[in-house]
Assembly symmetry: C2
Homo-oligomer: 167 residues x 2
Amino acid sequence: MEIQTAQEKFIETWGNLGSSWGINKSVAQVQAFLLLAPEPVSTDDIMERLRISRGNTNMSLRQLMDFGVVYKKNIPGERKEYFVSEKDIWKWAPKIMAVRKQRELNPILEVLTELKEVQNTAQTKEGAMFVQQVKEIEAFSSKVSKVADKLCSPKSEMLRKLFKFFV
Amino acid sequence: MEIQTAQEKFIETWGNLGSSWGINKSVAQVQAFLLLAPEPVSTDDIMERLRISRGNTNMSLRQLMDFGVVYKKNIPGERKEYFVSEKDIWKWAPKIMAVRKQRELNPILEVLTELKEVQNTAQTKEGAMFVQQVKEIEAFSSKVSKVADKLCSPKSEMLRKLFKFFV
DNA sequence: ATAAACTTTCAGAAATTATTGAAAGTTCAA
DNA sequence: TTGAACTTTCAATAATTTCTGAAAGTTTAT
């Protein structure tokens, strides 16, 4: 297989993976392209290669910078902005997880904590089940949250330890 | 807070969590409703409570049964079908993860394995970066895959061990 | 065999999400 | 201060996903 073809297959596959786990397809594809780029890349390079608009490219790059996995890179003498991605998966994967966890799991944990205070004053079966389920789910989610924080914390060796321990 | 209100808040919150991590909102809400239900529940009960159509209800229940977290429950003397959910989060959470991992991560792993075979015959920088990145991502993903399999395998105590170990 | 009770399907409608591209904004050299 | 080069925004449009509801299918009692 040609490198060119292989790159395209990789980029497409990465886009699909993103889609099914809640990352916008273009965002995932831009990251894939940057991962494979040996040199800093401009907005126009991305537009051309992925055939997406300037707006979409800009938004995708911004999201990746928000995740902290892509940086601006100035090239001396060039007016244009260039971008590079963090290339070490041990660094970028935890960063993406950490941001998503904070954005999408933490708010739910807050609600659960609030709902845990609800009392079954009327002594109904519904009330009993509610109290039990919320307690159970809150406890479980808190543990997941704590594990995620440890695994995703910067320069933590926890991820490597996890792999050593479980594989 | 009234139990009724609290239930609604829980159901809504659960729907939102689902949405942001790739589970259809209705599916997540149906599960939430079933989790809180002390008795088996009919399609009509779900339609009424969540204000969704028969078709949507049926499809959501099917997905939950595919995940293996909801079962049909016959009530003697009743013609209608009733449904109950697995109530133990230590059982249902790993089941959902296992199915999703198989559906959405395994195919990507296959592609990565295939792309790992690509050679940098032209000796370009692009080729070198491609080979390096694919190798790195494949290795990382394989580990994630193996950890996920252990954590999600039925009646495995790995999840509890993980929590003990890391929290 | 019939019909009532119930479940499933699926084409179209609705809602949501992603994308475009042109206009507005910014920066900088001259 | 001007305008060329570049970036960002955002209203409109497109694409995708979800949802509806009526029709078709199935099961069961008589």
